[in-house]
């Protein structure tokens, strides 16, 4: 029984990184910009966060540094694709490649570093409830913040006026422009916010989740977060659920291996992708679902007055 509680806890923890990064990317994609640089932004944020944690010993400053690093990279990307109209896909890939190289370069001297004792969290009272306590209430605050972020983002996108403007920019930038909204600045802001959230996810990875720095340590999580936004049909709640599903399948395959279940681990490693395909098939059974949420101008440059 306890094993399953711990499995659930590990699942939530693993899903948190994907959820935060995925929701960040959701924001800029809702404004019509695809940023394929997630992996690179997360790597640079991971080393920025790790270096800050080593220097100051404060994890929250480290998350801040990660967010800042991600935001700066995303802003550079934003200026390139929004004002200079470079190809979004190519620029995003370049950002990813640059990020992995740059993080390796500045991180050379941090591979031997280690952080102080990692904090343990428990919500008083709730943490002692059998099963539910160890499963849900002994997590790092970031795990709960990810849930709060989902709630906040849903409210923002669907209930607030600013959210409506953001979506309008992603659906029909021409109309938003005609109404007098500064489309380019809104897109830049969305891209920067997206980068900041990817940065938080990267810093959480290097400071809390796998508390170390090594070259290339994000190991594809940025790409999974990108896939997640499509998988979730651009809805915050589905991004969160999808992130837990991905995290859960990963943890489950290790759990089954550890129990000596005779399923080949290669097959288990495929499970997240099989699950993705399965859900995609389910969604495409009803095409209205995916069309209704996909920003109509996703990936298209906007020329004011053009």
């Amino acid at each position: 029984m306890d094993t399953y509680a711990l499995l659930l806890a590990a699942t939530l923890n693993a899903g948190t990184i994907l959820a935060i990064a995925g929701m960040g990317l959701l924001i800029n994609e809702r404004a019509g910009v695809v940023n394929l640089g997630a992996e690179g932004m997360m790597l640079v944020a991971a080393i920025a966060g790790f270096a800050t944690a080593v220097a100051t010993g404060n994890d929250w400053l480290a998350f801040g540094a990660g967010a800042l690093a991600g935001a700066v990279m995303a802003a550079c990307f934003g200026v390139l694709v929004i004002w200079l109209n470079t190809n979004q896909y190519a620029t995003g890939l370049a950002l990813s490649l640059f990020g992995s190289g740059f993080s390796a370069f500045v991180g050379i001297h941090y591979t031997q570093e280690r952080l102080g004792p990692r904090p343990h969290f428990a919500i008083p009272g709730l943490a002692d409830i059998p099963f539910i306590g160890p499963a849900l209430f002994r997590q790092h605050p970031m795990v709960y913040l990810a849930v709060a972020l989902m709630v906040g983002l849903t409210w923002f996108l669907y209930r607030s006026r600013t959210g409506l403007v953001l979506r309008a920019v992603g659906e029909s930038p021409e109309s938003a422009h005609a109404l007098g909204y500064p489309v380019r600045r809104i897109r830049l802001l969305a891209v920067t916010c997206g980068g900041a959230l990817c940065g938080v996810a990267g810093a959480y990875l290097s400071v809390i989740y796998t508390p170390l720095w090594v070259e290339g340590m994000v190991a594809g999580k940025g790409w999974i977060a990108l896939a997640l936004t499509t998988f979730a049909t651009w809805r915050p709640s589905r991004v969160l659920l999808g992130a837990y599903l991905f995290g859960g399948v990963t943890m489950l395959q290790f759990h089954l291996q550890g129990q000596g279940v005779a399923i080949s681990s290669q097959l288990l490693t495929m499970l997240p992708y099989l699950a993705t395909i399965g859900v995609l098939v389910l969604i495409s059974r009803n095409p209205a679902w995916i069309r209704a949420n996909m920003p109509a101008s996703l990936g298209k440059p906007f020329f004011p007055g053009g």
């Binding site: 094993t3 711990l6 499995l7 806890a9 590990a10 693993a14 190809n87 896909y89 190519a90 890939l93 370049a94 490649l97 190289g101 390796a104 050379i108 591979t111 031997q112 280690r114 990692r118 990875l205 989740y209 796998t210 508390p211 170390l212 090594v214 070259e215 290339g216 340590m217 994000v218 190991a219 999580k221 990963t250 943890m251 290790f254 759990h255 291996q257 550890g258 129990q259 000596g260 005779a262 080949s264 681990s265 290669q266 490693t269 990936g299």
Partner: protein
Amino acid sequence: MTTSTRRGLLRGTALGSIALAAALVGCSKKEEASTTMAASAPAAEASAAAAPASAASGALKIAFVYVGPVGDGGWSYAHDNARKALEKELGDQVKTSYVESVPESADAERVFRDLVSQGNTLIFGTSFGYMEPMLKVAADNKGVRFEHATGYKTADNLRTYDSRTYEGAYMAGVVAGGMTRSNVIGVVGSIPIPEVIRNIDSYTLGAQSVNPKVKVRVVWVNEWFNPPKETEGAQSLIDGGADVLLQNTDSSAVLQTAEKNGKYAFGWDSDMTHYGPKAHLASAAINWAPYYIQAAKEAKDGTWKSGKSWWGVKEGAIDLVSISDKVPADLKAKVDKVKAGLKDGTFSIWKGPIKDNTGKEVLKDGVVADDAFLGGIKFFVAGVDAPVPGSK
């Protein structure tokens, strides 16, 4: 209409980016290789060094090719430490250089050819995947001696060397068996090849030698280096009740996960004490220095011959280092006894009777396994609570 154009665009950018990525990687590697080597030799010497057998006068030029960054804290780090030890030992007689992060691809061949043209006469390639490129380059450069780590193909001027990492795994197992409270210990495995399976088996045999009740659980990450996955694997083992972990992967993530959870773990390949001082019980370290020093001496005095070496505790290549103070003295004494036995040849880890975990006897009573047997181990010994991936 939108979907088809988008798809076309995506495909185009994907192809373009792959080409771009390949070009970028190619450039950066070339730069890296040339800058590392520029320090040791001007390119003009290249032609003069084409007949290197006669280059007996002056310092012996030795080059190393690493698969990872020297800062990986594990495999490549251990090789580079040995390179430094070699320089220290032989001083002016040798001149060493290295190229790091060389992928196991067509790029490797170019790096080896570059190193030959730079006038190196003894070249070490420290990863399995360099086997075919090294064979090719060796065939074209008969005067240069090549040494390939962990491979199995040789030539007149190409020999292989490896270390008996399973001896370190066995000694770690002795410590693990004595330190576990739950009688469940875990291994985070990389890729299920004989070398790794042999290490897991030896770890199990070591643990059973002091604690017959111990069970070993295994998870595979199917990669040599992926810290988040290694962390997840380690976490699931701990959640499943394992309280001492070993890893056969290349980072220190497993040790750090144990540290975070208040469990025990080991260092692998290099001394990893400082990554998790509370969790660290000992490090099964490889010391390549004795081999590198001997190979350099042989190349220098002309006694270098092709062949295969597999060095262990006996030759000083494998050791269990930095044993923690938490390990009680009697357990330490047991490790010392094993070490002494391996050194003077009175003790063999793989001595029958040994059964696999399906109950079949794989080694008869009193039979000591030879290297051919050890090289082809594809089964888990009794006590490992998992099937070998791909086994029937």
